[in-house]
């Protein structure tokens, strides 16, 4: 089980003192936060990608490349990489490069992006969001697995004899999660490839995501990648903590009330009841998130959103101390209890290499080894 944080990278005014960080300050703060995540023992740092203010991370691999040099153990990931508006060829190159630079500590989460104007700014049409996500990923998947690719699609220039460079580290593509809030097509896509499925889980009620994750698990099994409980599931989460529950509520309330996503809407009490946002003592956060496996089954990755809504850097770093020192160690124990041995751990480069080598060895011995392969018949969908 992997624990980490994910950030949107918003520049938001602190509602308690009306101060707004500059882009420079926010970018540096994100880099500090990521290094702090490693320091407090978290496993994953994931960075969003945006192409419009007030968000700063337009160039994720630049920031993640810096972090690769500054960290030792943490997995550098995305939340999300825009599979719709980016050229899949450039994603293949950028993230294979990052994979080498970071000694394999890289994976990605694919997302469509829901900001209408970004599509036309990159020459695309939001109404084709799903077809773009499907076709672009189909190409990306091949670019990392086949040396020379001939390819023709609807959305980009055809390729003849194209070799994406550098080749993935150790011949193993970075692990991919597919993030979706509501589209069964994306859950289907994740299941088809045997990739991970990430449910954002923070802005909507848990029950909605439980259905979507349940569907992904069923389809993962249908496509022959393993049993439903072996599917790779990641969840988002959100917490604000203080020793004493009332202090947490008091401190976080002005940020909640003015937050870009849910501010000026429901009360913090209603929102914490209806969504996984937990504002309270570390123990309350432990209890809430330890119960997630009851709703979603044993899963592989839990990411928390910690730096948003104008929370100052100092507060975020304090929150990470609490998360890393008091919450995650207990959650690790809780999640390890009665976890069946056949349920996989969170994916790492080492685990993917081992799996690939085992499959090669099986193939060499004539056992087929289809468990790690994509099914051969793409028409067998429904």
């Amino acid at each position: 089980m992997q624990f980490g944080i994910f950030t949107v990278g918003d520049v938001t005014t602190d509602p308690t003192n009306n101060s707004t960080p500059s882009e420079y300050e926010r970018i540096k703060a994100i880099l500090t936060i990521a290094q702090k995540a490693e320091e407090v023992g978290l496993d994953v740092f994931a960075l969003g990608e945006h192409h419009n203010p007030p968000f700063v991370p337009s160039s994720p691999t630049t920031m993640l490349g810096y972090l690769a040099a500054k960290t030792e153990n943490i997995i550098l990931s995305t939340s999300t990489t825009l599979i719709t508006t980016n050229d899949p060829v450039k994603i293949a190159e950028d993230y294979a490069m990052l994979q080498h630079v970071a000694d394999g500590r890289v994976d990605l989460m694919m997302g469509r992006g829901n900001t209408g104007p970004v599509y036309p700014w990159f020459g695309k049409d939001i109404r084709e969001g799903i077809p773009l996500a499907i076709e672009n990923y189909a190409l990306l998947h091949r670019l990392w697995r086949e040396e020379f690719v001939n390819w023709q699609g609807k959305f980009r220039t055809p390729l003849q004899g194209f070799q994406s460079t550098p080749r993935p580290l150790d011949g193993v593509a970075p692990f991919v999660w597919h993030g979706s809030i509501r589209s069964p097509e994306i859950a289907e896509q994740a299941a088809y490839y045997g990739d991970g499925f990430f449910a954002n889980n923070i802005f909507w009620p848990k029950e909605h995501y439980m259905q979507l994750v349940g569907y992904y698990r069923q389809r993962f099994e249908h496509y022959g990648h393993g049993t439903a409980d072996q599917a790779m599931v990641g969840l988002g989460g959100q917490a604000f903590m203080a020793k004493n529950s009332q202090d947490a509520k008091k401190q976080f309330r002005p940020y909640f009330d003015n937050a870009p996503v849910y501010g000026h809407g429901p009360s913090m009490e209603d929102f914490t009841e209806q969504t996984p946002l937990t504002v309270g003592s570390p123990q309350e956060v432990i209890d809430r998130y330890a119960s997630m496996r009851e709703s979603f089954g044993d899963y592989q990755r839990q990411l928390f959103l910690m730096d948003h809504a104008g929370l100052p850097l100092k507060t975020v770093l304090e929150q990470l101390d609490i998360l890393g020192e008091e919450v995650v160690p207990v959650l690790r124990e809780e999640f390890a209890k009665n976890r069946p041995a056949h349920v996989p751990d969170g994916p790492t480069h080492a685990s993917l290499v081992a799996k690939a080598r085992a499959a090669e060895a099986e193939q060499a011995l004539g056992f087929g080894g289809t468990a790690v392969n994509v099914p051969l018949d793409p028409a067998a969908v429904n």
Partner: protein, 209 residues
């Protein structure tokens, strides 16, 4: 006996409201027709006033509260809808439209609808036909030909057996709606939230094969 489900949406703001009064009269008239057709009718009334904050929160957060969610589910699975709004500044009320705005675009497809409205004077009666009717047509609902507008003065006008007075209009509209509700199968439909579009392929139609 066949069972059908009728949902009534009232966007009146005062309590008691003449909008709700009109909704109740239309409901009674429709139920009476359905009774005569041998239909056992379940009625659920959605008072938008009680959901006002939930509707705004849904607009802001993108998801409905449990209370609003229950109302939406009920409406989505109805065999018929009686929708009544006050006319404010040339059109349906903002609260009414906000409620419509949080529905899935396909939620009302094929739904038989009787539209009604209230206002201070008769001068606004065409708002039903230039704003309310196209709204439901856009959503692929089936709006009955007769819509019912009640101005304050209509509550003091008796039936004349013709087409002009409020009771006559209500009666004709109820007959039209009841016939459509009888033939609706919406309440017994099973909706698969994970149904993939026809022809969907997880690898797309090109290249990857």
């Amino acid at each position: 006996m066949v069972a059908r489900k009728l949902v009534v949406v009232s966007a009146g703001l005062s309590q008691p409201s003449s909008t709700r009064l009109l909704a109740d009269r239309l409901t009674a008239a429709t139920t009476e027709r359905l009774d005569a057709l041998g239909v056992e009718t379940t009625i659920e009334v959605i008072e938008l006033r009680d959901l006002g904050h939930d509707i705004v929160n849904n607009l802001i957060t993108g998801f409905p509260s449990p209370k609003l969610s229950a109302a939406i589910e009920s409406l989505t699975a109805a065999d018929g809808l009686i929708a009544v709004t006050p006319i404010f500044t040339t059109s349906y009320s903002g609260l009414f439209k906000s409620f419509i705005d949080v529905l899935e675009p396909s939620a009302l497809t094929d739904l038989p609808v009787l539209i009604g409205a209230t206002g201070g004077t008769e001068r606004h009666s065409l708002a039903l036909d230039y704003s309310m009717r196209p709204l439901f047509t856009y959503l692929h609902a089936v709006v009955v030909p007769t819509s019912v507008y009640a101005a304050s003065s209509d509550w003091g006008t008796g039936a004349d057996g013709g087409t002009g007075a409020l009771p006559d209009r209500m009666s004709r509209a109820a007959t039209e709606l009841a016939a459509l509700v009888l033939s609706s199968e919406r309440s017994s439909r099973i909706i698969d939230p994970f149904a993939l579009p026809a022809g969907f392929s997880p690898v797309g139609g090109y290249g990857a094969q």
